[in-house]
Symmetry: C2
Subunit: 271 residues, 2 copies
């Protein structure tokens, strides 16, 4: 997978996008709307990224968590900053479209919504191959990072967030998994707080800020040609897949998650 792009490549894309937006703008002003339909020429994708301040995005995403959950929070944390920094076409996407990602998709506990929302924002501004590399790296980073970060705990203690619901230093843990269910369950187990508690909500708000800020750090690196994917899947993945393929009928497919994060008990026959 191509995981790096030169600064020249990225700026060429950005310039092409900006040019396309200008063409679109002219098209818009010439077309006459009819039948209740505005005539907006689609902006060329990927949309033009502009370097953002990760700390500003951390605070935005933390605030937006309380307005619309983790996926909306992370997505809008990035996109609203791009609306302010770039303007068109970032105001064309309604951030509410990411509400569904909250709680791992309608509360089902699958993909962490902060990752889902950040990934959607990344995918507005980066081509398919490079977005896959960046999103994959974000997922890997997520599984090994203790949340909430020291920065977010410090922001809360010092009342630096836009929304200050708690100044407690919250327990940090790395879940080893990108799944909401695993992430929240382990944090509740380790912290002693219930999933329904205000502290768990604040933990997820801080995490939402942390993930959106990390996404922006990676986008900034990508925009200057220094992003590099470094995550390596845990040894359980190639270890299990080494035997469990279609030849023996119990297939381990489509996974980069640590197998032990769900299948702890299976490891007695190997480790």
């Amino acid at each position: 997978m191509k995981s790096q792009i030169t600064r020249k490549d990225f700026l060429t894309t950005a310039v092409r996008s900006a040019a396309a937006v200008s063409v679109g703008a002219v098209g818009v002003s010439l077309l006459t709307p009819s039948g209740g339909q505005a005539a907006t020429t689609p902006a060329t994708w990927p949309w033009p990224y502009k370097r953002l301040d990760p700390e500003d995005v951390r605070k935005r995403a933390h605030k937006f968590y309380y307005e619309g959950g983790c996926a909306y929070g992370a997505f809008n944390g990035v996109v609203a900053a791009l609306v302010d920094a770039v303007g068109e076409p970032f105001n064309r996407v309604p951030p509410q479209m990411m509400y569904y990602g909250g709680g791992g998709a309608a509360g089902w506990g699958t993909l962490c919504g902060a990752v889902n929302g950040s990934a959607a924002a990344i995918s507005l501004v980066v081509d398919r191959s490079n977005a896959s590399a960046i999103v994959g790296e974000l997922l890997g980073w997520y599984t090994t990072t203790p949340f909430p970060s020291d920065i977010s705990n410090d922001y809360a203690r010092a009342h630096v967030f836009f929304v200050n619901k708690s100044d407690k230093i919250l327990k940090q843990n790395a879940s080893g998994s990108p799944l909401c269910h695993t992430s929240v369950s382990l944090w509740c187990s380790e912290s002693g707080y219930k999933a329904s508690s205000a502290e768990r909500a604040e933990r997820c708000a801080r995490l939402t800020g942390d993930v959106a800020a990390k996404a922006v750090q990676m986008l900034n690196d990508f925009s200057t040609g220094v992003f590099k994917a470094t995550f390596v899947a845990p040894r359980s993945v190639p270890g299990c897949q080494g035997c469990h393929d279609s030849a023996i009928g119990n297939v381990v497919a489509s996974v980069k998650m640590d197998c032990q994060s769900c299948h702890q008990e299976n490891f007695q026959h190997l480790y």
Copy 2:
């Protein structure tokens, strides 16, 4: 959770959205673009839905799978149909933004991309509370539905799809999980095909069509006031949560997935 809406409610929203689009269109034609930024007034969310033909969407999503993977396929299967049926504002969202969802998010095997993409499309046209109910129902339906559907297998056999890469009747299985990893692994185990095989790709293409078509069926029901959420979480969820809460330190939080779909081995102490 509010899981039903009256036809009057939905049509009121649709009319309000359409009016907002008209206002936006006027705004667009009056504003002068400057600095490479087009001046497009954001359309009011949720965007106006128009009843779609599930079979048309099934075929579109199947085709788009081969252009951009499962999440893009499902999302664009619905959104491209809405661009044709409604036009503005559905052409404002670049469907490429859902590329990342392929293979359960950058190949990580988390939330099935066909569900993720369909959920994003649903969330363009339905308010937060009702979208959560519809997406939750789609997730529940997914876990209990054998894929590929008889319809998709028949379309393939009769060369009805827009893209005809295989006319084989493919093995059907219900994975009990919304996770790509589980869904693909079990299908490969039961069918004997490798994850890297053309047959597995065609299985996921048909599944993508099936999920997008189901999403549209539910949106059509919602638009006529007859949608009703019926999915009930498997007994393992309340069963496990009955004991595993913060009181005993091994918390089961944020989940509607069948616990046994990952933690098979834990059940010896209960069932």
